[in-house]
C-alpha cells in the first residue's frame, strides 16, 4: 500500500499536465479552426505559418465573459 504514496501523486500530476496542455492549446487558438487544422496535417508543402500576433494578444487579454 505504501506504493500509493508515489502512484497517486504521479497519476494526478500526469492528469494535471494533460489539462495544462489542453488549456495551453486552447489559449493558443488551436481550436479556432478545427476543419482547417485537419487538412493542414496532411498538406504536402505547407508554408511556414506562425500563429497571428493579433490572436496571441487577444488570448492574453482574454477574460471569462460576464
Amino acid at each position: 500500500m505504501e506504493v500509493l504514496v508515489f502512484l497517486v501523486p504521479l497519476a494526478l500530476t500526469l492528469g494535471a499536465l494533460g489539462l495544462m496542455g489542453f488549456l495551453w492549446s486552447l489559449k493558443n487558438g488551436q481550436y479556432d479552426d478545427l476543419e482547417g487544422a485537419g487538412w493542414r496535417a496532411i498538406a504536402d508543402d505547407e508554408p511556414a505559418v506562425e500563429q497571428p500576433v493579433y490572436f496571441r494578444q487577444e488570448a492574453d487579454a482574454g477574460r471569462p465573459p460576464r
Binding site: 500500500m1 497517486v8 497519476a11 494526478l12 492528469g15 494535471a16 494533460g18 489539462l19 489542453f22 488549456l23 486552447l26 481550436y31 479556432d32 479552426d33 478545427l34 476543419e35 482547417g36 487538412w39 493542414r40 496532411i42 498538406a43 508543402d45 505547407e46 508554408p47 505559418v49 506562425e50 497571428p52 500576433v53 493579433y54 490572436f55 494578444q57 482574454g62 477574460r63 471569462p64 465573459p65
Partner: protein, 730 residues
C-alpha cells in the same frame, strides 16, 4: 473613372510595426484553396502572416506597416480567383467567441476532474467489498474532495451564474435544478467524508458537469459557426459608398466612414448605401428592395434616395442625411423591434420540458426523504437517499437531448445550402402550415434576365453581349450576363442617355433605347405581349433585334410551390409590387391567394391576422420592406441575396438560385423535431427506470454513474440519426 479604394478603417495596428486585417473570402471550401491562398499571399513581400480559417471562411493577414496597401491583398486574391472583402467582426461575434472558449475551458477542467476522481473512486468501490480499511477510504475521499471542489467551483460557473440570475429575477430555468443538484451532491459528499461513510458522490457531480458542458458547447458552437458565415455574407455584398473627399476627388469608403452631410456619388448601376437627397443629376431609380415596386421612378435634384435603391441611368450626387440610421430604416427597425419582442414569447421545447421537470424532481426527492423518515430510518440516511434521487435525475440527458440534435441538423442543413440563425428555428419550422412569399427577389431571381433569348441567333447574342459589357446599365448588364460574353469590344463610345455604339468590320453596332437603334416597331410588339418587361435594342448594320429583360421566376419555383401544396401547406404572396406583375407571377405558379402593393405595416397586419386564425406562418422574403414581417412571422427565411437587415432578421438563410432548400428545410425540420421528441422521451424513460431504484435506496454511485453516461450516449447516438435524414433530403 476608377475611384481609389480606402480600407484603412478595417486595419488594426498591432504595435511593433505590424498591421492586421481580416478578410472574408468567397469560395474557400477545401484544403486546396487554403494552401493556394496562403502561398499566394505569403509570396507578397513584407507579408509576415497569411492564415486561412476554413471554418469561418476568413483570412487573417499581417504585414509590415506602411509597406503595403490592404487593397493589394484584395487584388491578389482576385488574381487567384477569390472574391474577398475586408471584414470587421461585430461585437456580438467577439463575445460569442470568448464564451465558446470559456465553455471549452470549463469542459476541459470538468473532464479532467471527473476522470481523476473516477480513478480514485474505483479503488473505493472495489475496496468496499473487499479489505479496504476506513483510513484508506477516507484518504481517497479527501483526495477526491480536493480535486472536485475547486474544479466544480470553476467549471460550474456557466450554470451557477445563469441559475443565480434566474432566481434573482424570481424565475426558474433548467440551470436551477442543475445547480441545486451539484451543490447538494458536493455538500453531501463532504459531510459523508467527514463522517467516514462508505460512499461519496464527487464523481457523479463532476461527470454530470462534464456532460452538461459538452451539451452547452455543442449548442454554442452551432450558433457561432452560422453567425460567422452569415457575417461573411454581409461583408461580401460590399456595403461601401463613393464619397467626395475633395470637390472633384472621390474615394470608395466603407459605410461606417460616411456621415450625415457628406456628399456621395451614385453611379449608374450602383446601389445606394445611404439615405439622402439628390443635389445634382438626373436618373431613374429602382426602389424594388424598399417598396417591392419594380418599375423605375424618376429622380432629380430634391428627390429623396433611400439605402437599398438601385440607380439605373445617370450619375447622381447625393447629400447624405443618414448613413446607418435613416428615416425609412428607423421606421422599419421600429416595426422590427416590436415584432421581435412579440416573438420572444415563444417557449422552446427544452424549456417547456424543464419547466415540468424541475418541480417534479424536487417533489420526488422531498417525498422520498419524508417517506423514508416515516418508514423509520434515520434523518441522515433519508437525506442520503433523497440526494441520490436528485443526482440520478439531474437533467444530463435532457440537457443534451435538444442541442445534440440541433448541432447535427445545422451541420446537415449547412451542407444542403441552408444556414441556421437560431437553434429553436428548427422547432418552429417544423410547425409550419402556411408559407407567405414576397415576390420580388424571393419567388423571382434578384437579377434581371433576358426572356426572349430563344428568338435571337447565337452570334448576334454574343456580339450584343460583348457590346453590353461596355455599359453600366442594369438592363445591358443582364444581356451581357445572359450571353456569357467575356471580351468587351474595343473603341466603344457612349451616347448619354441613349446607349453605346462602336464599329466592327466597318459596320456600326449599337445597343440602347429602341429609338437609338431604329427598332421601335419590334420593341412595341414585345411590350404589347409582355408589358412588365424592360427592353434594350441592338443594331448591327441593318439587322435589328430587341431583347426583353425582366426578373425571372426562380427555376424550380413552380415545382417547389406544387410540393408545398402537396404536403398540405397553404401558400400566399404578399408583395409591394404592382398588381399586374403579382397577378402574372401568381398565375404562373398556381397560387390563388395574393396581395399586391402592400406596405411593410400591411404585411405585418396580414401576418398577425393569419396568426390570430391559428396559422403557423413561414415568411420568405428578401427586401428591407420584408424585415418586419420576417420578424413577426412564426419563422422566417431569406435568400442569400437579401438585404443585410432581412438576413439578420431571418431565422434561416438559403443559398443559391433555387427554392428547393425552402421546401427541403421544412421536411427536414419535421424529421429533426421527431428526433428531439424521441430524445426527450429517452431521457424520461431513463428516469422512469432509474428513479424507482434511487427512491428504493438501491442506487449505488456506480449505478448512478453508469446510468447517467448510458442515457447521455443514447441521446447523442439518436441525434446522429439526423444525418441519414439529411442524405434523403439532399
Amino acid at each position: 473613372m476608377q475611384a481609389t479604394r480606402d480600407f484603412s478603417h478595417y486595419v488594426r495596428h498591432l504595435g511593433s510595426g505590424l498591421a492586421h486585417i481580416d478578410l472574408a473570402v468567397e469560395g474557400v471550401s477545401c484544403a486546396g484553396c487554403m494552401s493556394k491562398i496562403e502561398r499566394g499571399l505569403s509570396a507578397l513581400p513584407d507579408v509576415t502572416l497569411a492564415r486561412v480559417n476554413l471554418t469561418d471562411r476568413r483570412v487573417a493577414l499581417e504585414w509590415k506597416e506602411g509597406a503595403l496597401d490592404p487593397v493589394s491583398f484584395i487584388d491578389r486574391l482576385a488574381e487567384l480567383g477569390y472574391k474577398a472583402y475586408p471584414f470587421e467582426p461585430v461585437r456580438a461575434e467577439a463575445v460569442e467567441t470568448a464564451q465558446a472558449s470559456f465553455l471549452l475551458r470549463c469542459l476541459g477542467v470538468a473532464a479532467f476532474a471527473a476522470m481523476n476522481i473516477m480513478m480514485l473512486s474505483i479503488p473505493v468501490w472495489s475496496g468496499n467489498v473487499t479489505d479496504m480499511i476506513p483510513e484508506q477510504r477516507d484518504f481517497f475521499h479527501w483526495l477526491s474532495a480536493l480535486i472536485a471542489l475547486p474544479a466544480a467551483a470553476y467549471s460550474g460557473q456557466p450554470f451557477f451564474r445563469s441559475a443565480w440570475a434566474a432566481l434573482r429575477a424570481r424565475r426558474t430555468n433548467m440551470d436551477v435544478p442543475i445547480s441545486i443538484g451539484i451543490v447538494l451532491a458536493l455538500a453531501m459528499s463532504v459531510m459523508e467524508t467527514i463522517h467516514h461513510a462508505e460512499h461519496a458522490y464527487f464523481d457523479a457531480a463532476l461527470m454530470l458537469l462534464a456532460f452538461l458542458l459538452a451539451g452547452r458547447y455543442l449548442d454554442q458552437s452551432m450558433r457561432r459557426k452560422t453567425r460567422a458565415v452569415a457575417g461573411n455574407l454581409a461583408a461580401l455584398r460590399g456595403e461601401t459608398a463613393t464619397k467626395f473627399v475633395g470637390t472633384d476627388e472621390i474615394s470608395v469608403v466603407p459605410i461606417a466612414a460616411v456621415h450625415a452631410g457628406d456628399i456621395v456619388l451614385l453611379r449608374p448601376g450602383e446601389r445606394a448605401s445611404v439615405d439622402g437627397v439628390v443635389i445634382d443629376g438626373q436618373s431613374k431609380i429602382d426602389q424594388s428592395l424598399i417598396t417591392g415596386e419594380t418599375m423605375p421612378a424618376k429622380a432629380g435634384p430634391g428627390t429623396a434616395v433611400y439605402a437599398g435603391t438601385l440607380n439605373l441611368s445617370g450619375a447622381l450626387r447625393v447629400r447624405v442625411s443618414a448613413a446607418s440610421e435613416g428615416t425609412l430604416l428607423a421606421e422599419i427597425s421600429r416595426l422590427l423591434d416590436n415584432a421581435v419582442q412579440a416573438r420572444s414569447r415563444y417557449v422552446q421545447l427544452a424549456d417547456r420540458a424543464s419547466r415540468l421537470y424541475a418541480p417534479v424532481v424536487h417533489a420526488a426527492a422531498l417525498l422520498t426523504m419524508l417517506g423514508w423518515v416515516a418508514y423509520g430510518v434515520t434523518w441522515h440516511d433519508a437525506i442520503v437517499i433523497a440526494i441520490s434521487v436528485l443526482i440520478i435525475t439531474c437533467p444530463c440527458a435532457l440537457g443534451l437531448a435538444i442541442p445534440a440534435v440541433q448541432t447535427v441538423v445545422s451541420g446537415a442543413l449547412f451542407r444542403t445550402g441552408v444556414l441556421l440563425n437560431s437553434g429553436d428555428a428548427i422547432e418552429r419550422l417544423a410547425d409550419v402550415d402556411r408559407v407567405v412569399f414576397d415576390k420580388t427577389g424571393t419567388l423571382t431571381l434578384p437579377e434581371l434576365d433576358v426572356t426572349n433569348d430563344v428568338d435571337i441567333p447565337g452570334d448576334v447574342f454574343e456580339l450584343a453581349g460583348r457590346l453590353a459589357l461596355a455599359s453600366h446599365h442594369p438592363v445591358a448588364a443582364a444581356v451581357a450576363r445572359a450571353s456569357g460574353a467575356k471580351t468587351p469590344l474595343a473603341g466603344i463610345e457612349e451616347a448619354a442617355g441613349q446607349g453605346v455604339r462602336g464599329t466592327i468590320d466597318g459596320l456600326e453596332v449599337r445597343l440602347g433605347r429602341p429609338s437609338f437603334c431604329g427598332a421601335d416597331q419590334i420593341a412595341n410588339d414585345i411590350l404589347c405581349r409582355d408589358p412588365e418587361a424592360s427592353v434594350v435594342a441592338f443594331r448591327h448594320g441593318e439587322t435589328r433585334y430587341v431583347f426583353a429583360v425582366r426578373q425571372r421566376l426562380r427555376p424550380d419555383a413552380a415545382d417547389a410551390i406544387a410540393t408545398l401544396f402537396k404536403t398540405g401547406i397553404q401558400v400566399e404572396i404578399l408583395s409591394g409590387d404592382r398588381e399586374p406583375a403579382v397577378r402574372h407571377a401568381a398565375g404562373q405558379l398556381g397560387i390563388h391567394e395574393w396581395r399586391a402593393g402592400v406596405t411593410p405595416a400591411d404585411k405585418i397586419a396580414r401576418i398577425e391576422e393569419l396568426k390570430r386564425q391559428g396559422a403557423k406562418v413561414l415568411m420568405v422574403g428578401d427586401g428591407m420592406n420584408d424585415a418586419p414581417a420576417l420578424a413577426a412571422a412564426h419563422v422566417s427565411m431569406s435568400p442569400v441575396s437579401a438585404t443585410h437587415l432581412s438576413q439578420a432578421t431571418a431565422d434561416l438563410v438559403f443559398l443559391g438560385d433555387r427554392l428547393a432548400p425552402v421546401v427541403g428545410a421544412i421536411g427536414f425540420a419535421r424529421k429533426a423535431l421527431r428526433l428531439m421528441r424521441q430524445n426527450l422521451w429517452l431521457a424520461a424513460g431513463y428516469n422512469a427506470l432509474a428513479v424507482p431504484l434511487a427512491i428504493a435506496g438501491l442506487a449505488t454511485p456506480l449505478v448512478a454513474a453508469a446510468a447517467m453516461s448510458g442515457s447521455s450516449l443514447l441521446v447523442i447516438l439518436n441525434a446522429l440519426r439526423a444525418h441519414r435524414g439529411a442524405r434523403e433530403f439532399g
